[in-house]
Symmetry: C2
Subunit: 384 residues, 2 copies
């Protein structure tokens, strides 16, 4: 399934030897047409990896024939040589596929500041091209994993016979820019690049942009949407955009569920905000509060930490009108002690925090996870 659920796509995932442990580390996704329309969103981190700088150029044409992705190295902060390496990877992929290099997007993920072993990357491109298959989507999804414990895929189909499918990787350095991870979405809907761009930006704004695992924005975030037109169906915009949003939301939820070291998935829902921007600002402030994330880990409904996080924002609210519910219990009412905190049941993995700003009618949901000793271990015991 994954990126090959939609007609017109082949994919592969192989072990090129980039990772020292021999795990799969190179994926190839090819759009066999008839259309090769595409859209992409990229990290807003100003320190961008070489593949991001390259792929931003590729996407300007609105045409992508193939995406080559590697794990085992981010090719970020690698200087002019890093950009040449990305270019050489695109050239090699174009050569084996008989396409132009400027139609090949490149994504990399892994440790920052280490050059890629280019002999292995280029050899891997040949191996991957030789194993391209209409059933290769899952192998591709596996090959882009880094600290991910599971691979992430999602598929939604329209009644008229078209499909949106995708794969994602990401478990740490996971916070919103324009996007927050490597994601490739494919569709066989017959749509032009402008429509893809509109649907993709609308979807990422309310899905990946509202995932905030650890507040750390990557240098390599990329979300691509490729359309082959192979279904011959041109769905209505709203129906298509909703399918893209569903796939993005599903993949985003899977990313949070696999966040490094996490034991709780936390849904921060801000309601009755004066504006959507206020709701997002407040939600993000709560989601990034280390003390709260520790408390949730300890199954402690510490609503004081929610209020102290809200208080650091510029959103419209009055401190004595704030209400907070944790797993359905309004532990804070009118900025003060509310229902008995002992009523809060936090045994389950998903935790739902509602912050009521009592300042309007807008809402937003940010997903995050708890902060654990396992997260510290995973990010201190070795470079990643």
């Amino acid at each position: 399934m994954s990126v090959t659920a939609a007609k017109g796509f082949t994919a592969a995932g192989i072990a090129a030897g980039i990772k020292e442990n021999g795990n799969p580390d190179l994926a190839l996704v090819v759009n066999n047409g008839p259309r090769r329309a595409a859209a992409g969103v990229f990290t807003s981190n100003r320190v961008k990896a070489a593949p991001v700088l390259w792929s931003e150029q590729v996407l300007k044409s609105g045409q992508v024939s193939a995406v080559v992705l590697n794990s085992g190295g981010a090719n970020a902060c690698t200087g002019p040589q890093g950009f040449q390496d990305t270019h050489a990877t695109a050239e090699k992929t174009a050569e084996v596929l008989g396409r132009g290099a400027i139609e090949v997007a490149v994504c990399s993920t892994g440790l920052i500041g280490v050059p890629l072993p280019m002999d292995k990357v280029l050899g891997g491109v040949e191996t991957a091209a030789a194993s391209l298959s209409e059933h290769g989507g899952e192998k591709a999804a596996i090959a882009i994993k880094t600290t991910d414990t599971v691979h992430k895929t999602s598929v939604v189909s329209g009644e008229a016979g078209w499909t949106v499918g995708g794969m994602a990787k990401g478990a740490g350095m996971l916070a919103p820019g324009l996007a927050t991870m490597l994601v490739v979405l494919t569709t066989d809907a017959d749509l032009d690049d402008a429509t893809l761009d509109r649907a993709l930006r609308a979807a990422t704004k309310v899905t990946f942009d509202r995932v905030d695992s650890d507040g750390c924005m990557s240098t390599n975030d990329t979300v691509l949407l490729l359309a082959s037109g192979a279904s011959g169906v041109t769905p209505g915009y709203e129906e298509f955009a909703e399918a893209v949003r569903q796939v993005c939301a599903d993949l985003g939820r899977q990313l949070i569920g696999d966040a490094e070291g996490a034991s709780k998935d936390i849904r921060v829902e801000v309601v009755n905000a004066a504006s959507e921007e206020d709701a997002v600002e407040v939600g993000r402030s709560i989601a990034r509060n280390n003390l709260l994330k520790c408390a949730i880990h300890g199954e402690d409904p510490n609503w004081g930490r929610v209020l102290s996080a809200i208080g650091t924002t510029k959103a419209a609210f009055e401190p004595d009108q704030l209400n907070v519910a944790i797993n359905g219990v309004w532990v804070c009412k009118n900025g003060s002690v509310g229902e008995d905190r002992d009523l809060v049941d936090m045994r389950y993995r998903e935790v739902h925090i509602v912050a009521d700003l009592a300042a309007g009618a807008e809402t937003a949901t940010i997903w995050t996870n708890d902060l654990t000793a396992d997260y510290v271990h995973e990010n201190s015991a070795y470079s990643s």
Copy 2:
């Protein structure tokens, strides 16, 4: 020493029974004059504890006769009753000292959202008043501890016979607003409240405001500076301001050194910034990056995480001109791989990161600490 190092002050620290473990939890600092000039800075968190709301009013007169401080409860998010409790504490203190309540500043620290046991607080005020002493500074410093493992005091004296002394508490929820903890400074210099205010704001801006332990801003932060005039000496402004800055810097350094769970104290020095604001923004972004803080805990000179943090800021810089040194080794040059990272010696507690923006001549230093499993444990195993 502490707040009684300067002439004209008495202090006490006692166990009022607010803390269930019986540890000291109530402190009293009294200015016996002849002057009772004062200045204060408070948290910029919009969710402010009752004692902050009260003390802000007290400080408007520029006159403070006494400060009563309790640990064991923040009296934050406690509604109208919380404010009445603060008021009653000030009234009681004024009564036993024979002063007006509007001259009594109140500070509280501890768990948010729990009412104070007022019978114990008011009884404690009487006990503390009965034990006031010119040697009580250390006991007062001990009584304001929460998760602090050590009490923090500092003293600087001018050659002409005047002194600035102080005490501080703070170990978590430690990030800049206008101030980041409870601090009481005293001086016997003969200065008016406007001069105190100017010197205090200048000092906190470059000391406490640049301490960022865990990115979490408290609802209770208060820094007070009280002058008794008892030395009979009026020092020059620059000399006095420098003494205040030194005491604040010393106490701020002690706060970082005792941060919850920390094993490394990290000095983030941003150099060659286009403006001081840029330098502070970049320093704070680096200091708040959980992934970097984990890496430092693991003694891993992971400069890629420094660059990814710089990239999230609006500061002036070009990605390919950034340089980063860790403990003197320039591991990143021109935005790419620099000197051998194996040369970096990270065995010691203090770690020095220099981020060179190559964009100007301004500089700023932010202090933070590493992120550890002990921090997670301390903030998840029980409410604090």
